[in-house]
Symmetry: none
Subunit: 216 residues, 4 copies
């Protein structure tokens, strides 16, 4: 009879009242539905079903649909940032390191899950301007920032010609990812095959290094 035993939020989390397995469960269901249908197209009913909880429970963990969406984005954002940060250059040559980075960046970005998230966010920008900026900073901008650091060092130690490393980072990303990204965004093409991806990246690298590599 006592409710004690059933009390959740036990473990360690409970940052703002309740963070728990159930909260995660809801976010997982919400992610699935929001990705597939967009913000407006997703119904709380569908989310509850996908999460395997009752509709009422949704409102125990989240104030309303907006908040659920925003929390979900924050979540996605965290994961995206973590994935980006996880990349560790391991190859021997400078070019190979850049190549590996570009390839794994491309792979991350064009994954169908990620593209769905991006579309979901982009489609909601008008209604949730903050969400768009948030996501952008976690994704594109974070990638640029990491590269900027790398390029800053490379300029400092003379591997790259003297230049604004931020601009270089933008150029690198543009050359190696924008074509693939654009197509994926519009659903206009299937994910490139590994061979295509390699070719695209190599082409980009040629141009990039032709300009930025120090001519000693």
């Amino acid at each position: 009879m006592s409710k004690v035993a059933a009390q959740p939020g036990g473990s360690a989390a409970g940052v703002e009242g309740h963070d728990s397995e159930k909260r995660r469960q809801i976010l997982d269901g919400a992610r699935e539905v929001f990705r597939a249908k967009g913000y407006e197209g997703a119904s709380m009913d569908a989310i509850a079903k996908a999460a395997g909880v009752s509709k009422g429970t949704l409102y125990v963990y989240f104030t309303n649909k907006d908040e659920l969406f925003e929390q979900l984005i924050a979540d996605e954002k965290r994961e995206l940032a973590a994935a980006l940060d996880a990349f560790q250059p391991a190859a021997e040559s400078f070019r190979d390191n850049l190549r590996a980075f570009a390839l794994s960046f491309n792979e991350l970005l064009t994954g169908e899950n990620h593209m769905s998230s991006i579309r979901m966010v982009v489609g909601a920008v008008e209604k949730f301007p903050a969400v768009g900026a948030l996501f952008f900073r976690a994704g594109a901008e974070r990638g640029t920032t990491r590269l900027t650091e790398v390029f800053g060092e490379a300029v400092a130690d003379g591997r790259l010609r003297p230049c604004d490393p931020t601009v270089a980072a933008h150029h690198f990303i543009a050359l190696c990812t924008s074509e693939v990204m654009k197509k994926a965004l519009f659903g206009a093409a299937l994910r490139p095959t590994p061979e295509e991806a390699i070719r695209i990246v190599d082409n980009g690298l040629d141009v990039f290094l032709s300009y930025y590599l120090a001519k000693d």
Copy 2:
């Protein structure tokens, strides 16, 4: 006497049933609402109001919401394509022509109207896959195609180094537009000022030409 002028489905467009002032009026209202709210967020009621017609009238001109949306996209696509085709290189130097093209392309793409349309399309890709591809082909791809022609000629007459002009076109567009586009897409930045735009384009051009320009 002459009923000719007033006749709906008359001279100009009239692909099928009726094309008329009212049809245009509805499309204008629909564009406004779809851009602001996305496909799912837009209500036929709101569209009717924005268009200044009754809800019933919407259904005289369009079978249903889907069709209205698709027609609107087709419309947007036509306008976008026309705007791209309208560009005529007029400057004296090769670099200046590319510069002018890049600037006007950037301006076209980052116009708030256009960005809203893109977001609307991207947000609807999951439900209307064809619409995404359609839009992509009318926009990004068409721009690339035009450039490919230009670069093909330039390779032929020796101004550019021997290379695949399609790849060159992708690289050019990526270098000169992707940064601005990405930010605009996520609503993460205001439109760049003319000075910023010029700087971005010039940076891109430096890299591009450094690689692609024929070395005497």
Copy 3:
């Protein structure tokens, strides 16, 4: 340019303003749709289409949907009455005459067209009480009345036992038609085959005549 030639209502009808080919055309379309969908289920749009006229024209000939329906029923009623009146006993024996009458009555009533009309009327009785009574009088009652005359004579000339000819008429119709009618009304059975119809009628006649035939 003159409208003279096109002026309708020319022929001879024009009982109450305009009766014409077009009016007939409309009623034919209306009959088709009302039968298929019932009063509420029929849309003026569908009727206009079925009649091959514009929706506006409907309102030139009929005040509104109700009136169109009522006029249609009046029409049907007239045709039903005419069909009943058209029956002429021609056989030699009394029994054969009754048999022929019952068979043709059954055939008339269970025709799919007629059944649809009856269902349409029955379904509308609650909203149009007068229509039900009207139809009943033109159909069932008129059949009974005709038979009552026949039976009155037969009682008078000694072929039938002394009895109330109205009651006899009811019994005759009940015995020979009610089973088939009921099933048809509910759509619970296909129309009986000619053999079945004959058997049913003969069974009914046996009972009827067993009681009503003068015992010499």
Copy 4:
């Protein structure tokens, strides 16, 4: 403590999801409106109002209007069948038993509630063919079947002449009920007074027994 009693979908019916007081409430409101307006004429709004629930609640208990209608018919059918089965012959003479059956059958059928239901069903036969057949089997046919059993026994024990008891049942029902039924169906007459009903039944019985009673 005991949540048992209040639990929806509890003891009694509960064929599938939930059967409850509220479900009954809705069916009652629906019956009222469907009877009065027919299937097409009844609006879910009106039904909700009549049932005293919100429109949304309708859709918690029934998938859609069609299903609500069909469930209602199934309900009516059950009640009708129960009413018919409930009849227990109690009188002393064979004739009196038949008389009592005919009178109560007439009373059941011509009750305004029942007639409304029949009209509702008949009016919907074109759209719901199954519903018509269902209702027919529960009503007219079930009555016939019961009588067939009775007559079968009566033939067996020599009270009735040798004959097909099914045909006899049809004849009995036709003679005693069809006149009243037909008028009621078309709303062409008020319910007969008890005296009229008795007269009609007695007239029918005379004819029926004249033929079917065993001649000693």
